[in-house]
């Protein structure tokens, strides 16, 4: 039974039917089976946040979920959020504020930041830091990341919906 198991799920709006070994985590499944390499793998034990994706609309650590657990569920990765334009303004703000240097943490940062902005339209800097506390950046010192998220929240409030 350590043989591949069939799974069906939706990834970025597309139906996926594949066989996968139980030991393969969701991050590796996305990267190696679906070639969606925007989801990054850092610590592989839930500390760094680089592998953050959405499952059924909620952010999770893709390294702490098995691909077989996602059977029947909906997954959105940074590719999905980027292609749909959902995070276009956030991405621009990150670029303008130099909120990334090497970029390794950025997909996870964007996933976590967008999750916050969906729940709060006027988050304080403290709340931004709290929501991103599980996402590590080793380059920027976080200040510019918090700036970019604050600026995006501000500009979204002024945008007619």
């Amino acid at each position: 039974m350590t043989a591949p198991m069939p799974i069906s799920l939706e990834v970025n709006g597309e139906r996926v039917d594949l066989h996968v070994l139980p030991r393969v985590n969701l991050a590796d499944f996305l990267r190696e089976h679906l070639h969606l390499t925007g989801t990054h793998v850092g610590c592989e034990h839930g500390v760094c946040g680089a592998c953050t994706v959405r499952v059924n609309g909620e952010i999770v650590r893709a390294c702490l979920m098995l691909a077989v657990q996602v059977h029947g569920k909906t997954v959105q990765t940074i590719e999905g959020l980027s292609d749909s334009g959902e995070v276009a303004d956030l991405q621009s703000a990150f670029r303008e504020r130099n909120a990334l240097q090497c970029g390794y943490c950025t997909p996870g940062m964007l996933m976590a930041a967008e999750d916050l902005l969906k729940q709060q339209n006027e988050p304080s800097r403290e709340l931004i830091r709290e929501h991103l506390s599980g996402n590590y950046c080793r380059c920027t010192g976080y200040q510019a990341i918090v700036d970019a998220i604050e600026a995006t929240a501000h500009s979204r409030r002024g945008r007619p919906r």
Partner: protein, 292 residues
């Protein structure tokens, strides 16, 4: 940093889960949120031969009040504890404690039952169960077993659960009118495991305590109740009495030492928490008492 190979079975009923458990015994691990199990497997600290995924079992979900008991299903996720109005009204200690557990993405997956069955001595929820005098409900092939929180936690990652049982739910006595809760922990960074922490529930009347349960965590191999709390029951509380009791409490402890903190540092932090906890409970009790 990849888990070794294992089998995987997704079960559709508690009965099916228990059958699988009795078939595979200690070679099996139950998978709920997986937020402690999967890191341990990725680090190869544990290598179960089979994972039994109970994530689909609707009968293990739900938060409900039945007369004076709050029942919380084992698969209730941390984020659900955080946002539940029933929990906020009847066990506010849990709402406070969950804010200290890891980060949003982990709270979206981690479960109450998983945290209790994992029994990390530095975890928040086991101490809350002890403070709230919870009953833990285990399901086995012979039916249900009800275990007091004080008997449930037996050491590092060790509980009273038998290898062929699963944790189904917890039952908590709901907060009474004069009861107050308090939670605080010291950690290097928010979301990290605590260096020392306290979860407490008290009944406050006429400026004193008629009940006081203070459960400390990360200072022993399991969450422990402060015996020194007995010194503060049904007496007029003075700063001297609190100071004496907190010293007596420090002497009860023999905390473990690791890279995070020495034994004496943990004892010191626990004594500070003891004092702050007593003062905060009294202040809250007076606040509510004065209004009533």
């Amino acid at each position: 940093m990849k888990a070794s190979a294992f089998d995987y079975a997704r079960v559709a009923s508690i009965h099916h889960a228990l059958e699988m458990l009795s078939l595979h015994g200690e070679q099996a691990k139950l998978l709920s949120g997986g937020q402690s199990l999967l890191p341990a497997m990725n680090l190869r600290l544990v290598s179960p031969q089979i994972l039994i995924d109970i994530g689909d079992l609707a009968e293990l979900r739900g938060i409900a009040v039945d007369s004076d008991v709050l029942r919380i299903g084992a698969l209730t996720r941390h984020v659900e504890l955080l946002t539940s109005h029933l929990v906020a009204a009847h066990a506010p200690l849990l709402s406070d404690a969950v804010k200290h557990i890891a980060h949003p993405a982990i709270r979206n997956r981690g479960t109450l039952g998983g945290s209790l069955a994992h029994a990390d001595p530095a975890a928040e929820l086991p101490a809350c169960m002890l403070a709230l005098n919870a009953t833990i409900i285990a399901c086995g092939r012979d039916g249900e077993r009800r275990i007091a929180a004080a008997e449930f936690f037996q050491g590092i990652y060790a509980t009273a659960l038998r290898p062929d049982e699963l944790l189904a739910a917890v039952e908590l006595p709901i907060a009474r009118q004069n009861s107050v809760d308090f939670f605080q922990e010291f950690a290097r960074r928010h979301g990290d495991y605590a260096l020392a922490g306290v979860a407490a529930r008290a009944s406050v009347a006429s400026g004193g305590f008629s009940k006081l349960r203070m459960a400390f965590f990360a200072i022993a191999d399991r969450p422990v109740l402060a015996n020194a709390a007995a010194k503060l029951l049904n007496v007029a509380i003075t700063p001297e009495l609190i100071a004496d009791a907190s010293v007596a409490f420090g002497n009860e402890l023999n905390p473990p030492e690791d890279q995070q903190a020495s034994s004496s540092m943990r004892r010191h932090l626990a004594s500070v928490l003891f004092r702050r906890c007593v003062e905060a409970l009294l202040a809250r009790g007076r606040l509510y008492g004065g209004a009533g």
